[in-house]
């Protein structure tokens, strides 16, 4: 959902509102966080970008999924990334996820919801793995799993059904993938592919295009007609006699 798109949630371009289903992140209290997103950016009822990136990099082990107005989400995450980098250089310490959340919510509250970006911040820092969601007006939640965007309801239903604490990595990836897929199929504002970002203490792995459930179908039949399918019943030819009235010759400069 960069640019104009909206991530699982809605992303919007400067003048568009994109909806996307955003994914949620699954918080493995033991090891890490998985962020997921679809890749559709919409402009009202038209798909503006079929393969946008909604998962943004904030720090080496902190990533952000942005939904809502795409431009707002994009600029908010870019500013967070810049501020986190400055903070890291200043303090000499790696950033905390709570720091990113705090700066984001303070900025969004300052603009009283006019900056329409809802963001899920997830990452691993020295205190462990954390997942926060921040809404456009500046409120935030800290939960084991979160969804945002237009496809949030579809995605959270999958989570509510199958989430357990301390899942294995593969099971967790499958769960997030299924939740995003639910958004892709059940919500018009989400579509195309599933992107995942697996963040652990070792680092972050951005799996772009992890799954492509909504591919273009294969055409089964041939719809061409053989030449001669339509019979010719009659043929009439009328020659037109034309006289030359005026003739000019213009030489080309060929040297």
């Amino acid at each position: 959902t960069r640019k104009m798109e909206t991530r699982s949630e809605t992303s919007a371009f400067p003048f568009l509102f994109l909806l996307h289903t955003e994914t949620l992140s699954f918080d493995d209290a033991a090891d890490g966080v998985i962020l997921g997103a679809d890749t559709r950016a919409t402009d009202d009822m038209v798909v503006a970008d079929k393969n946008c990136r909604k998962i943004h990099h904030i720090a080496p082990r902190i990533y952000c999924c942005g939904a809502g107005v795409a431009a707002d989400a994009e600029i908010a995450t870019q500013m967070m990334a810049s501020n986190v980098e400055l903070h890291t250089l200043n303090t000499g310490r790696p950033p905390l996820v709570a720091m990113v959340t705090r700066q984001l919510k303070q900025m969004l509250f300052r603009y009283q919801g006019h900056m329409g970006s809802s963001v899920i911040v997830g990452g691993v820092d020295v205190t462990g793995a954390h997942l926060y969601s921040v809404y456009p007006h500046g409120s935030y939640d800290k939960l084991p799993f979160l969804t945002m965007g237009s496809g949030a309801a579809a995605a959270v239903s999958v989570f509510e059904d199958r989430f357990k604490a301390n899942m294995e990595l593969d099971e967790a990836k499958r769960l997030v993938r299924d939740a995003i897929t639910a958004g892709i199929f059940c919500d018009l504002g989400s579509g195309s592919n599933v992107d995942l970002c697996v963040i652990t203490a070792a680092g972050a792995e951005y799996l772009r295009g992890y799954d492509r459930p909504a591919g273009k179908g294969k055409r089964e039949g041939q719809y061409r007609y053989k030449p001669g399918t339509t019979p010719v019943l009659t043929k009439t030819q009328t020659p037109l006699s034309l006289d030359v009235v005026y003739e000019t010759v213009q030489m080309m400069d060929t040297e």
Partner: protein, 141 residues
């Protein structure tokens, strides 16, 4: 239009349009300052206009009052004196100052906000006349 709640939204300083129009020769300069409209001068044109205009001021007020409660009156007084001194360090009248000393005091030298990204003075569409402005500042005009 319901005007009951409008008083709280009025801009705090209203330019008196009729008395002294901004253009030369004393008439409204439509090219540079647009058409006159009483509503535009009394009411804010965006819900955030007033809160953004006063944001830094309000933040400073809040911080100073907290500081006063914690450390006593001397702390905000000293800081305000330093702010006042730092604010006076400017370049020539027509050049935008970097406000480095003020930024360092305030602690905004290591954060990036919209004021750093947007409205780059190098890309400004208007500029003052350097000679006139310097002469005016020095009182030669």
């Amino acid at each position: 239009m319901n005007t009951r709640g409008l008083r709280s939204q009025l801009k705090d300083s209203v330019p008196v349009a009729g008395l002294c129009p901004q253009g030369s020769y004393g008439i409204q300069d439509s090219l540079r300052s647009g058409f006159t409209s009483v509503k535009n001068e009394l009411l804010p044109s965006h819900p955030l206009e007033l809160s953004e205009k006063n944001f830094v001021l309000n933040q400073d007020k809040m911080n100073f009052s907290t500081l006063r409660n914690i450390q006593g009156l001397h702390a905000p007084l000293k800081l305000q004196m330093e702010y006042r001194a730092a604010r006076q360090i400017q370049r020539l009248p027509f050049l935008q100052s970097s406000n480095l000393a003020l930024d360092t005091l305030r602690g905004s030298d290591d954060t990036i906000g919209f004021e750093d990204i947007l409205s780059d003075p190098a890309q400004s569409e208007t500029m003052g006349e350097p000679h006139m402005m310097v002469e005016y500042k020095l009182g030669l005009l």
